[in-house]
Homo-oligomer: 199 residues x 2
């Protein structure tokens, strides 16, 4: 019984057997209601999760709270690798456009190609916006490593046909730094000082 | 929804908001069955946990697997602070007696007195064993800090009336070291080289 719980907790990334035992015994000392609240929250997340049809962000419904917010600039699309990056940029409070979550990054080593990402959806989205005569800006907010640059370049080639403004994050981020570990000030500035993408 | 899960995970000791988000997104990428297995194991542990009537160890039933094992020496009782210590000593493979889990240590600073621990149960257990004419040995396997020494001395005074052999772990452990962080070799040796308790 204890072993089952410890094994289950130790299956989480970065949690070893000793930490898992410590966490299991911690949960055992909590009131049962707290433990049930804990497991219910996780079950609810995994059972009822949906993704925004527009931007692929995690959402309670078919449209996420950002895409459903009319006060935001829907002609500015910030392209990010994953959900964490959306939350990192939202935490800076510096960005008022919308997002597009790729769901990964082009990485031949990990076997992730363009078709594994939501690039087709991004292209359709831009096509629809430009067809309506909107001035669209696409911000490529990917990490500053080789895979990020490759993905940016690939997306740039896919969307340049629409004549949209394409920018990338200001290189306040060191080359090779991972986006999610940047502090909020650096990330906020790199959103403000974003630059025209010149491949 | 995601926030609820992240908050729930971040309520665990030693897990910050970023780690909690990382773990929540990890769970989200797993098959639902795995997540349900994970939450079921935790619920099962917290809902159905029982404690061995003899040694107070976590158990599926009223008698734990160690106290129910007739191949073990029931006249040797290793007194430990908590469940983790039982598992640490079991992992050494060097001990074949039984245990007694105190459920804490005497600590005036933390407000833990002798009556908060299962010392009365230990005394009754030793009384019953000696009444039957058994030669009993009690190993005081508590941490080598002041609180551990105080608790050892308190227990020694409670049980010396029964004329049992009282030993303590060999001081291979550095003074002040926490028992649960000792490596298995050191801990195993300190079980083998246990010494008569001389207060």
């Amino acid at each position: 019984m204890l072993e089952d719980a410890v094994d289950a907790i130790a299956s989480l990334p970065g949690v070893g057997n000793r930490s898992a035992l410590r966490l299991a015994l911690h949960l055992l000392r909590q009131p049962k209601e707290n433990v049930h609240h804990f497991t219910d929250a996780i079950n609810h997340l995994c059972d009822d999760v949906r993704y925004c049809r527009t931007c692929m962000m995690i959402s309670d419904s078919d449209t996420c709270s950002i895409c459903g917010d009319h006060s935001r600039d829907h002609n500015t699309i910030c392209v990010v690798e994953n959900v964490r990056d959306v939350m990192s940029i939202e935490n800076t409070g510096q960005y008022h456009g919308t997002y597009h979550v790729l769901g990964g990054i082009i990485s031949p080593i990990n076997g992730t190609g363009p078709s594994d990402l939501s690039i087709t959806e991004l292209v359709s989205r831009i096509a629809a916006l430009t067809k309506d005569g909107n001035e669209v800006e696409v911000i490529l907010a990917l990490s500053g490593d080789v895979e990020g640059e490759t993905t940016s370049f690939y997306i740039y080639r896919q969307i340049s046909q629409f004549g949209v403004k394409v920018s990338s994050l200001a290189r306040g981020l060191g080359f090779g730094d991972d986006l999610e570990y940047a502090d909020e000030l650096t990330l906020g500035r790199s959103i403000i000082n974003r630059q025209i993408f010149r491949p």
